[in-house]
């Protein structure tokens, strides 16, 4: 990738292969000797965890697809048959359904880590933007996947989300409806919709895997950012990826799998909705149509806007905004560890996302302490956009950052006079 290769083949065979296909060299340079900042903390283990999650979803998904029937009349029963008749089908399906939530939990922690330590700033803008693309693909994949069991929430979730496109009618009459009909392959969500969603649900994870490849490729050019947000200056600042980070990632991955297993075996329906164990019925609308937890903040923004088209634009804007972050942040230092003011707004932003998620989970007319939640959601939406479009550029200009340590090595190896603890 970048820099000089330190690979020297150890056997005649690996030398033979390396001269014809430098795969051993590639593996050595990217996964073994790759110089990695020595001060990466627990929040930097989520990249490996996410790769694991993608692998788990693809493997369990392929097995599920062997037994699943993408037909509106048979899909629900085929999932129940996986749960009851297929050997360990319950295990594969619960890993897959819980895995979606564990995947999103990890991706959110990964993204918040990037935001906190300024990992999107030059020269890592493209890593961040590719990451936003992965996130978008993940949301699409998760949405298609949620439709497949063909329960009540599958059906009505699909109806609500695809109907968002009909709001385009307000700009070009009939265009939105035409797009919706095209997406459905019918005049309502039905068998044709289910079939194409299944096809896309099978396709997108492999596209995600490809884009993840780009994400890691782009990462390996400048190398990792780190909690101090300062550049690597000497070999003393880094350690080889293996064994230092392979063992650290393995340990934290194992803890994450432990949490994963607790949900799979002891609360497999924790992230689900009871209504989705009710077969899809176009004639009965569930009292509340709620998306999965990982989409709730965006759902809250959508509902906070009384005008449908503007609501849809706000929803889209909330995600598109993420692409511009590398240029919205005007700060000279990367890490919030040295940004006393931004640090506070960052945590307020994290809380804001949780509040939006809560608002999205509640009924549309819900009230909290006498305040309609829709107003809380509106405030939350305002802060979400304000954080990126106002606070990020302005605070970067007015804030005085704390002094940065001279180097990573100095910060880690002592000289406590200048280095912050941690």
């Amino acid at each position: 990738m970048s820099g000089q290769s330190s690979y020297t083949p150890r056997s005649g065979l690996s030398k033979w292969i390396d001269q014809r296909l430098p795969l051993p060299r590639f593996i050595n340079d990217t996964m073994m000797t790759f110089p990695t900042p020595r001060n990466l903390n627990i929040w930097y283990t989520f990249g490996g965890i996410l790769t694991f999650c993608l692998g788990v979803q693809i493997i369990t998904g392929i097995v599920l697809a062997m037994h699943y029937v993408a037909n509106a009349g048979m899909a629900f029963n085929s999932v129940e048959s996986i749960m009851r008749d297929v050997n360990y089908g319950w295990l594969v399906r619960f890993i897959h359904s819980t895995g979606a939530s564990m995947f999103f939990l990890a991706v959110y922690l990964h993204m918040f880590r990037g935001l906190y330590y300024g990992s999107y700033k030059a020269p890592r803008e493209l890593i961040w933007i590719i990451g936003v693309l992965i996130y978008l693909l993940m949301m699409a994949t998760a949405f298609f996947g949620y439709v497949l069991p063909w329960g009540q929430m599958s059906f009505w979730g699909a109806t609500v989300i695809t109907s968002l496109f009909s709001s385009i009618d307000q700009i070009v009459p009939h265009l939105g409806t035409a797009i919706t009909t095209w997406l459905w392959g019918d005049f309502a969500v039905g068998d044709a919709t289910l079939n194409r969603f299944f096809s896309l649900h099978y396709l997108l994870p492999f596209i995600i895997a490809g884009v993840v490849g780009l994400h890691i490729w782009a990462l390996h050019v400048p190398g990792n950012n780190n909690p101090l947000g300062i550049d690597v200056k000497s070999p003393q600042d880094t350690v080889p990826f293996h064994p230092y980070y392979t063992v650290k990632d393995a340990f934290y991955l194992c803890l994450y799998v432990l949490l994963f297993a607790v949900f799979v075996f002891y609360a497999p329906d924790f992230f689900g909705n009871p209504d989705n164990y009710e077969p899809a019925n176009a004639l009965v609308t569930p009292p509340d149509i709620v998306p999965e937890w990982y989409l709730l903040p965006f759902y809250a923004m959508l509902r906070a806007i009384p005008q449908k088209l503007i609501g849809v634009l706000v929803l889209g804007g909330a995600i598109v905004t993420l692409v511009f972050i590398p240029w919205l942040d005007t700060s000279r230092v990367r890490s919030c560890r040295f940004r006393p003011l931004m640090k506070q707004f960052f945590w307020a932003f994290a809380v804001d996302c949780l509040i939006l998620g809560y608002c999205g989970s509640q009924g549309v007319d819900a009230v909290l302490f006498g305040v309609p939640l829709i107003w809380l959601a509106r405030l939350g939406t305002l802060y979400y956009f304000g954080y990126f479009w106002v606070l990020m550029p302005v605070i970067g200009l007015i804030e005085t950052p704390k002094p940065l340590p001279a180097s990573i090595a100095q910060s880690v190896l002592g000289d406590s006079a200048t280095a912050p603890a941690e």
Binding site: F251, D288, V364
Partner: protein, 269 residues
């Protein structure tokens, strides 16, 4: 809070009625929180009580199955591990007690000369046959209401087993003043809207338990809820047992990885 919309919807439905009758302060017909019934299968080590499963099956068979399907349960499930614990011979006998629509006979007929559907005895491979041939027949026999399939009911309702138990034991309470039960419906405050189409299903001693357990309404309700919980989640015992092994393995592996991590990084700080 998800009930808030339901109240509004109920309100919208009730509003014209209320305006017409000019009566009564508005009553919130949001369902009550389910009763706190405890079940042996709850918790990380919980298992189904075999006695309760078998008694519960009896209640399903003699009472519920008159109207409710048990679509996802096959007769061979009745002797599978983690289930009611019948023997294979008992499961065969249970299956043989049901009549299943037969395949066309040698002459290609599916009806006898009187036009009655030909049937055969159930086998282990069959699922429990529905009480009505189709949804329309089910509605026609139940004043327009469709009795839901019970093999998923515990998973398909918020509140799970406690909800199901509360519904079938929730008929005894008298409606509060000002609430009028809809014609042809029954009062049940654990059901959303309080009007339920199902008549009180259980009567004390309507079933006779062969193990001598006293068949109170509460006992029958508890037993059938255990049976239906199993029907919704027949792999629960296998799942929890496997989970314990997986967790022990992962804890040990985490410990080993932590020690490796400490050793590798020992000289780095």
């Amino acid at each position: 809070m998800r009930f808030v919309t339901k109240i509004i919807l109920a309100g919208l439905v009730m509003a014209p009625v209320a305006a017409f009758a000019q009566t009564a302060p508005a009553i919130s017909t949001t369902r009550l929180a389910p009763k706190h019934e405890e079940f042996a299968f709850e918790g990380p080590f919980g298992t189904y009580d075999r006695g309760a499963l078998q008694r519960g099956f009896q209640v399903y068979k003699e009472v519920c199955s008159a109207c409710h399907n048990l679509d996802h349960i096959a007769f061979h499930n009745m002797y599978e591990p983690g289930g009611p614990g019948f023997t294979e011979a008992q499961a065969k006998a249970i299956a043989a007690g049901y009549q299943i629509p037969a395949d066309p006979n040698d002459k290609g007929e599916t009806m006898d000369e009187k036009g009655v559907r030909l049937t055969r005895a159930g086998t282990l491979a069959d699922h429990f046959p529905p009480p009505f041939p189709n949804e329309e027949a089910a509605r026609a026999n139940n004043s327009g209401a469709l009795p839901p399939d019970l093999s998923m009911i515990v998973k398909a309702r918020a509140g799970g087993p406690q909800y199901v138990y509360s519904i079938i034991t929730g008929f005894s309470a008298k409606p509060p003043a000002g609430f009028k039960v809809t014609e042809g419906k029954y009062f049940n405050p654990y059901f959303e809207g309080w009007n339920i189409s199902m008549p009180p299903p259980l009567v004390a001693n309507a079933v006779t338990y062969s193990d001598g357990t006293k068949a109170t309404i509460e006992q029958q309700a508890h037993d059938v809820t255990v049976f239906l919980s199993w029907a919704s989640d027949p792999k629960m015992e296998e799942r929890k047992r496997t989970g314990l092994g997986v967790l022990i393995f992962l804890v040990v592996l985490s410990g080993l990885l932590f020690l490796s991590y400490r050793k590798v990084w020992a000289n780095m700080h």
